[in-house]
Every structure is written in structure tokens, then in C-alpha cells.
């Protein structure tokens, strides 16, 4: 039994040290510098999953909470400046919520996303343009040019290119791999 005490003492000490590190980290989690350090470490292929709760709740209610890396900062700036008429919807927010979401979008926009996919979106947008529709960026158009309209806008199960996750099944995790694509009603087709 006393041997067990040794095991508990050792593992318990380690576990509490780990817990302390976790809580210290969680407490500092809002610190921008830390997040930037984390972001700067690796470049991801697609996008980091969106884990901003306010963005998910407010924007994600009506459409997928698009990874901010899909558009440059100037586009998010323009979108957030016109929420009263947001593609025909009223999407007004409480001022502090709006500021917080805007800060998140700008901090993770295509220029700062450390994502190869975001870099491609960014490169396909002319410097003098400020698109507010992801579907109008050249990269998006090029990547979807082999998808006939009847499969998306003419498909009652899909309806719109805006709803990425209908076909890109891992889109909510930031993953837009071709292999994950299943178009409802056209399950047997490959892309």
C-alpha cells in the first residue's frame, strides 16, 4: 500500500503542475501576443478552425462562420461596416459585440492567417478590389468552375454556395480538402 502512495505522490505532483500550467495559460489566453506566437509557429494547409464563440454565435447562426482567412482585412472591414444591410438581411449587433468580432476577423484575415489556402485566396484578389463575397474571388471561382449550377443553386438540398458545409463536410473544422466533398443528391460523383 505504501508503494501506491509513492505512485500517487509522483503522479499527483506532476498532474497538479500540469493543471497549474493549464490555468495560467487559460488565464492568459486572451493575450494577443500569446495567440500571435501560437499562430506564427506553423502554417496550416487550409484554415485554423474558428473557435471564437461570439463570431460563431452571432454570424454562425445564419451562415457558416467562415474562416477569416478567406478574405483580406479590407473586405472584413467593409462587411462589418454594413451590417444593417448584410446581403439583404439585417445583421446589426450590439456595439461591443460588433467590435469584438471585427477585431477577431481582422486579426485572422487572409494576410495574417498563416494558411496556404488563405494565401491563394489573397493572391487571387486584385489589390484595388475589396470583395465582400467569398464566391466572387477568382480563386473560389476557379476551384468551383467544374461544378454545374444544377448541383448547387439548382439543388434544393444545397441551394447556395454560401453553405460550404453542405458539401465540404469538414468545413466547420477549417478543412476544405477535395476528398471530403459530397454533394447531396450527387453522392456518387467525384471531385
Amino acid at each position: 500500500m505504501k508503494k501506491l502512495l509513492t505512485v500517487f505522490l509522483i503522479t499527483g505532483t506532476l498532474a497538479s503542475a500540469g493543471g497549474a500550467v493549464f490555468y495560467a495559460g487559460a488565464a492568459a489566453g486572451e493575450d494577443d501576443k500569446r495567440m500571435n506566437r501560437r499562430d506564427a509557429r506553423t502554417i496550416v494547409r487550409d484554415f485554423r478552425p474558428v473557435m471564437n464563440a461570439e463570431y460563431q454565435n452571432e454570424c454562425g447562426a445564419c451562415h457558416m462562420a467562415y474562416p477569416p482567412g478567406l478574405l483580406p482585412a479590407r473586405s472584413w472591414e467593409r462587411i462589418m461596416g454594413g451590417l444593417a444591410d448584410h446581403f439583404g438581411d439585417n445583421a446589426e449587433l450590439a456595439p461591443e459585440t460588433e467590435a469584438a468580432i471585427k477585431a477577431y476577423l481582422l486579426a485572422n484575415a487572409a494576410e495574417r492567417a498563416d494558411s496556404r489556402r488563405a494565401a491563394k485566396f489573397l493572391a487571387s484578389i486584385a489589390a484595388n478590389q475589396t470583395p465582400i463575397r467569398i464566391t466572387e474571388t477568382r480563386y473560389f471561382v476557379r476551384k468551383h468552375d467544374e461544378i454545374p449550377e444544377r448541383m448547387v443553386t439548382g439543388n434544393p438540398q444545397v441551394k447556395s454556395f454560401a453553405n460550404c458545409v453542405t458539401c465540404h463536410r469538414n468545413a466547420e473544422k477549417g478543412v476544405f480538402d477535395d476528398d471530403d466533398v459530397r454533394i447531396p443528391g450527387y453522392e456518387r460523383a467525384h471531385f
Binding site: 447562426a61 457558416m64 438581411d89 450590439a94 444545397v158 454560401a162
Partner: protein, 130 residues
């Protein structure tokens, strides 16, 4: 006080879930303008009222469907919208800020204007009964 009792009685007799205190609070506020008891039936009529926006016909059901216990879909993006009925999702109608926010947004989309307190009261009574 009497008014609150009336509202509580109306809600208790409805077939849906017990109303969250927030709903009773809001109904009292909406009722301050005159209408004491809100009716689920009038709420249903408003829910299905068709409004023209250019060539498009918009109703609450455009996104939420006519059956509030079912999942809806955003009319333009196709995004799934969870059931609105408290009997299907107990989180519904429990947060004042959420209720007010969506009345604000969705009345503007559906009717092209903000809703009156009276309309909002009828809506609450209707949604709560589902």
C-alpha cells in the same frame, strides 16, 4: 399584478413547455401599451402572414418552416436553423438579449420594419405554445 396573473394563466394553459421567467417579464413589458393578454392564435396568423419584398414572398416560415418543432433553413444561405419551439429545444426563449436581437433582425427582414410590442407579445405566446 392582475395582468401578470392573467399572462401566467394563459401560458400555463398552453400545451407547450412552462415558460421561462424571461418570457413572462417581456410579455408584461410588451403589454404595458394596452393589450393585456396575448394570443397564440394571433401570433400564428402573424407567423404565416405573407409579405412581399420585390418578387419575393417572405414569411417567418420562409426560414423556420410552418412547424416550429422542425429544423428550418436560412432562406438565402441554406444554413440549418435549429427548431424554435421550446418543446423541441429547451434553450429557446430563455435569454432576453437573444429574443430581442432576433425580433430586431427578423422583423426587418420579414416585414421590412420593426415589430410593435403587441406583435412581439403575440409571437411570444405563439412560440411558447409550440
Amino acid at each position: 399584478m392582475k395582468k401578470i396573473l392573467l399572462i401566467t394563466a394563459a401560458l400555463a394553459s398552453a400545451p407547450g413547455f412552462a415558460a421561462h421567467p424571461v418570457v413572462e417579464e417581456l410579455m408584461t413589458e410588451y403589454g404595458a401599451g394596452g393589450t393585456a393578454v396575448f394570443s397564440a392564435e394571433q401570433g400564428r396568423a402573424l407567423w404565416n402572414q405573407e409579405n412581399r419584398n420585390g418578387d419575393e414572398v417572405r414569411t417567418c416560415a420562409s426560414c423556420h418552416t410552418a412547424d416550429l418543432r422542425k429544423e428550418g433553413r436560412h432562406a438565402s444561405t441554406g444554413r440549418a436553423i435549429g427548431p424554435l419551439a421550446p418543446s423541441a429545444d429547451q434553450e429557446r426563449l430563455t435569454q432576453r438579449a437573444e429574443i430581442e436581437k432576433w425580433f430586431g433582425r427578423n422583423c426587418k427582414w420579414t416585414f421590412g420594419r420593426t415589430c410593435t410590442p403587441e406583435e412581439k407579445g403575440h409571437f411570444l405566446a405563439f412560440i411558447q405554445s409550440q
